[in-house]
Symmetry: C2
């Protein structure tokens, strides 16, 4: 697999654009559009929060038949907990139909921002002409338009082989706060020119999401609007993927790589974060135990603060393992902190080992930290991604709406 430029426009037949239409101030891009030249297989995973954004409901309906051609998304307003949310989300799709001719039912719609404030269609209608003009190889404009508290644009593309023939996959994502996805994350839009049936695309996505977006947490707050969708338009000259086998595995490996990179970039850009945390658990009794433990460690506010302060307070790792709700023998646990500055074992057999605090501080002062947890209970492993908890998380969220 070779990383290339172009984001969601890297695969053949996709164009994208993004403009400011006035939902979120007068300058920041807040409206994005991605369009495929031809009909594409579509698959999605969505938040499991009982409170669901209206765009989730509309998108689920629109891709029920397995196909879609376009994605419209806005930031600045989540269109959630509004009595007229569904008709607004449908209205956004109607506007796209009016301007592109793509049937409303083949359009995916997404919104992100404040919950519970009415989303007005007017600025979106007003912005449509310039949004159409912006369409082209402008994945970066679309990526910008879906950002909220994100500080970094999340965009990625790669060329990979399916049965020896080249295909391309691209993606944009947003997500910084209210991140603890359950089935999907924030907004992730993935495009590919691979030929794959809707059923196989959904299978690949569901399997990959389990190990990537579902394993990240910024603040344990599962959002109401999480959505991850893939459009596969089949314009690459690859064989059709309609069953499990080597071709499917080629595609799934590429999708997994892209999703892992995006999941890590979302965790690293967590609100106020200064560090990416990666908890690698090995030796779990079951897959579920390993996952619970990795997630529990990554979610501990106390550990997140310790990582912010580069403090090797491994007792907080043990504590989070202990309340994870997993089965494990705490007397066998070993913990090692790792970074590009080296590695240092801080706990063995569930108890202290001598280590140099100075050396630990050096390891933990890097901006990507691995917390390696060896359970010694079995053969299952899991990795979760998170970030530290800093003053800026509090600052950003103390008055988000103003």
């Amino acid at each position: 697999m070779e990383y290339i430029k172009g984001g969601v426009c890297a695969p053949k037949g996709f164009v994208a654009g993004g403009v400011n239409c006035g939902i979120r101030g007068k300058e920041k891009r807040d409206l994005a559009l991605i369009v495929s030249r031809s009909m594409a297989s579509a698959a999605g995973v969505y938040t499991q929060n009982l409170v669901k954004g209206a765009p989730i409901t509309v998108t689920q309906k629109h891709i029920e038949d397995g196909y879609a051609r376009a994605i419209i998304a806005n930031s600045g307003n989540a269109n959630t907990c509004n009595p007229n949310g569904i008709s607004i989300a449908e209205g956004m799709c109607e506007l796209v139909e009016t301007f592109t001719g793509i049937k409303q039912n083949d359009i995916i719609v997404a919104s992100t921002g404040v919950i519970g404030q009415e989303l007005n269609l007017e600025p979106i209608a007003y912005g449509m002409p310039s949004l159409m003009t912006s369409l082209g190889s402008h994945s970066d404009w679309a990526a910008e338009a879906i950002m909220t508290t994100d500080t970094a644009k999340k965009e990625l593309a790669a060329k990979f082989m399916i049965g020896g023939r080249p295909a391309r996959i691209g993606a944009i994502a947003k997500g910084s706060g209210m991140i603890c996805p359950n089935m999907a994350t924030m907004l992730v839009f993935i495009t590919t020119d691979a030929k794959i049936t809707p059923a196989m695309l959904q299978k690949a996505l569901s399997e990959v999401v389990k190990d990537t977006f579902n394993m990240i947490s910024v603040d344990r707050d599962t959002s109401t609007n999480d959505m991850c969708v893939v459009l596969a338009n089949g314009l690459a000259e690859t064989e059709d993927i309609h069953e499990v086998g080597p071709l499917f595995e080629d595609f799934k490996a590429a999708l997994a790589d892209i999703c892992t990179q995006l999941a890590k970039s979302i965790a690293k850009d967590g609100e106020g974060a200064t560090k990416l945390l990666e908890c690698r658990v090995t030796g779990g009794k079951t897959d579920a135990d390993a996952r619970k433990i990795a997630k529990s460690v990554i979610c501990s506010n106390l550990l997140k603060c310790a990582m912010f302060g580069a403090d090797a307070n491994w007792g907080r790792v043990l504590c989070a393992i202990g309340y994870a709700g997993a089965e494990t023998d705490v007397k066998k646990i070993a913990v090692t902190f790792k970074s590009s500055a080296g590695e240092i074992k801080v706990c063995e057999n569930g108890g202290a080992v001598d280590f140099s605090e100075e050396a630990a501080k050096k390891v933990l002062s890097e901006d990507e930290i691995v917390i390696d947890v060896a359970l010694g209970d079995g053969d299952d492993a899991a990795t979760a991604y998170g970030c530290d908890l800093s003053y800026d998380y509090v600052k950003i969220n103390g008055d988000y709406r103003s």
Copy 2:
């Protein structure tokens, strides 16, 4: 019930003391002792964390027979995840036996502080003579000696009636961070001169803890050393409580009141907290649903930050309800913020209602905020207690050990 002075020494026949012995610097009291003049019924609830402090194991063994006479506790070191933790905890009890004659097996032991650093017996042995000298009506010294990052002493006592005759109950507690008790909280020591059998005392405690300490959270981090114990020495001239009935209810009501006050004071003194949050859920389909929802709201980092900023961001309340794992119809939810400055409804039927942001800011600027959630699904109710998330939480926990 009438609140009185004296803390754990208010009930007849209890003395307490506290000194500095050098575990935690050279000035702050760090060693506490509570002694009953006669044998007392004893009951306890403990953390459900798989990683358990050695003192928990020793205390459980010592009160297995239902009786105890003394409590020794230190702050500055949790005596947890240490290979020799059990023998150190037993050693603390032996020291108390040597100095008081109370049998080691009738002594409760507790430790709080850093996890995974060896606890040395020497300073405790060295401090025993002055600890004995400090014994008297010095509940406040004992309360001070168990504080870690607490900023306020937690001490309470009351006189109440059992079958028309007076008895007394007193308590001290500590807890500020790593607070999300499961079966108990941090350290809570309760004394009473009521006459009650060990079995009835345990029943009253277990029932009360469910609605009080188990309903608070500072940071969702369930500690390894949570412990709540009661000693009832029967020196009041009240009838013996040996079965469920009016006498038991009299006692349980007093215990519930004391535990509610302490639970709220622990939440209010959460690390870095500027506000006490109380989420009152009514109209739950089941008791478990109401509890899950109240706890989920109180635990949301995003909502905690909004409360810190006095921002009426009710969408975060809905979001936390939605991922609570409870059954509820989100279309029926109403949310009202209340404080001594008034109340303001912000959500009805799961959607926005018009409200004055200015008035909401006024309500949320007080230091005790009630988040009233009316579900409209049934008749079950629950209340959870928590606190806001501030810069100081990050500061306190960025470098706790140094």
